[in-house]
């Protein structure tokens, strides 16, 4: 077990008492490469990912990461653990009125106190790295523009740069391509695969597009009704599995 392994044991989440969305998930995600979670809407994919960095509070179960149980951490311990978990969102979630550069630098907020954040006392090393990351995602020329002047694909690139700015040991992506056109979706997946690959960061991505997932992922997890029903390489994901995951079959042909 390395520091880049996440082990989930018996994870349950109930938004309403007695109505579990996640019904006891057991998963171990290790090593580099992209792991895709597929499944119909409302099946708890997003909830699962958000339980890992505690944007959603798990009801029961354990999430082991770097010798800690993420499910029970509190206060400063939780914040310190979150620094090591980057996240990319479907709606990008940039701070619209700040510049692209400052959005990338917010990835460092976990390492600074509020006073430093207020005075924008980012270290020279952080600023240099932010510029490098912006170049890496192809937005070097946009550093000083406001985030709300960018297109969807550009915003998601900033979102990826912000997440990597945290120096994460794992990257979560909650439907990172669902608001983007097909071409941009492929570009965003390529970028995540490339940048995370270079840094040996494992990526867990929720995704609706099965073909896109197959193309970029080394492992696929199929969920339905709050349970894992498939776990394996893309090659072994058959139509029978897809029928089991999404239900019905008319949509397949």
């Amino acid at each position: 077990m390395t520091d880049r392994t996440i082990e989930i044991k018996g994870l349950v989440k109930e938004y309403k008492k007695g109505v579990p969305v996640l019904k006891g998930i057991d998963l171990s995600i290790e090593g580099e490469g992209i792991t895709a979670i597929i499944g119909p809407s409302g099946t708890g994919k997003s909830t699962l990912i958000r339980c890992i960095n505690r944007l959603v509070e798990p009801t029961a179960g354990e999430i082991r990461f770097q010798g800690l149980d993420l499910a029970t951490l509190k206060g400063a311990d939780l914040r310190n653990a979150r620094r090591k978990i980057g996240m990319v969102f479907q709606e990008y979630n940039l701070v619209e009125r700040l510049t692209v550069m400052e959005n990338v630098l917010t990835g460092r907020l976990g390492y600074m106190n509020a006073f430093q954040a207020w005075l924008r006392r980012f270290s020279a090393a952080d600023i240099a790295e932010a510029f490098q990351l912006l170049d890496a995602v192809g937005l070097g020329a946009f550093a000083h523009q406001r985030a709300d002047s960018l297109s969807g694909g550009q915003r998601q690139r900033v979102g990826i740069a912000r997440a990597l700015m945290q120096h994460p040991d794992i990257l979560l992506a909650d439907e990172p391509t669902s608001s983007l056109d097909p071409k941009t979706s492929v570009e965003i997946m390529e970028l995540m695969a490339e940048l995370a690959g270079k840094r040996n960061i494992p990526v867990i991505v929720n995704i609706h597009n099965v073909e896109l997932a197959k193309r970029f992922c080394h492992r696929m997890i199929g969920m339905t009704g709050g349970k894992v029903v498939f776990d394996g390489p893309p090659a072994s994901l058959s139509e029978t599995h897809l029928k089991e995951i999404y239900g019905g079959e008319d949509w397949l042909h």
């Binding site: 979630n93 700040l98 976990g110 509020a114 954040a117």
Partner: protein, 271 residues
């Protein structure tokens, strides 16, 4: 053909209101009219006073004209500056209080209802007392003068600015806040970088709007002895110097228009 379905159209009738709704609506209108009639009775309008009102009005203007221009440099100018100072300083003091109280009242920022309730109580208490009443209270504490006026303006404005600021915070988007939470940022950092950029234009726009209101409110504070141009007007009125009252009114009018224009221009650049 539609005629093949005889009777369907006639059987289905469409009416805008159900009978209960109609009775309710009639009742509502009836209560409104009754309220107006009753109010007219209680305010006891004396018809004779109404008949000679046009003559009185004309008399008023005759006495006001020509204005006593010499009164401006003697008593009005200084009082006018004092009025602006009361409004500005009062607004600044109000911001210092409204910022924290507004934050405490926002349910998404402080998810603990007793604190929200306490903050909202402070805001409502501030608003429920009129500026002139606040002024009378502070005159009791600090004695008559501009200090009492400034505090009155500040205390009345906290409720206004705090309420609107708190509401702006509650309406801010959750996404950026979630993203910053995920980076491991502290609550204070999340406020500074996630909430504040979102509500900053609203905050300054509310503050400017309140300053604009305060310029007008501080102009009447002098009537109760809390400093500013109202005092000059009160003196002139007590002496029946309507030509001097006219000078004061014109000065207030010009300043209010100027404040309005300034606020509009600044706000346009802000958003």
């Amino acid at each position: 053909m539609s005629a093949a379905l005889p009777g369907t159209a006639a059987e289905r009738e469409w009416v805008r209101h159900t009978p209960e709704q109609r009775i309710l609506r009639f009742g509502f209108y009836f209560v409104c009219v009754a309220a107006v009639v009753w109010s007219l009775k209680t305010i006891e309008i004396i018809p004779e006073f109404l008949y000679d009102a046009p003559a009185q009005l004309k008399d008023f203007f005759v006495r006001m004209w020509p204005m006593d221009a010499a009164y401006y440099p003697k008593s009005v100018h200084g009082a006018l500056i004092e009025t602006l100072n009361i409004a500005t300083l009062g607004t600044l003091i109000c911001l210092a209080f409204a910022l924290p109280v507004g934050i405490l009242s926002a349910r998404n920022l402080v998810p603990f209802w007793p604190i929200n309730l306490a903050a909202k109580f402070v805001l409502v208490a501030s608003r429920s007392v009129n500026t002139l009443v606040w002024a009378l209270l502070f005159i009791g504490i600090f004695g008559p003068g501009a200090l009492a006026g400034t505090m009155a303006i500040a205390f009345r404005s906290v409720g206004f600015v705090g309420k609107l600021f708190g509401e702006a915070l509650e309406e801010s988007h959750r996404g950026p806040v979630e993203a910053l939470t995920a980076t491991g940022a502290s609550k204070a950092s999340i406020f500074l970088k996630g909430y504040w950029p979102q509500v900053k234009p609203a905050f300054w726009s509310i503050a400017l709007f309140r300053w604009d209101i305060n310029v007008r409110e501080s102009a009447v504070l002098g009537l109760v002895g809390a400093g500013g141009i109202g005092m000059a007007m009160d003196t002139a009125m007590n002496l029946f110097r309507w030509d001097q009252v006219a000078v004061v009114l014109s000065a207030v009018f010009v300043v209010v228009i100027a404040a309005e224009v300034a606020v509009t221009l600044i706000r346009r650049r802000l958003i």
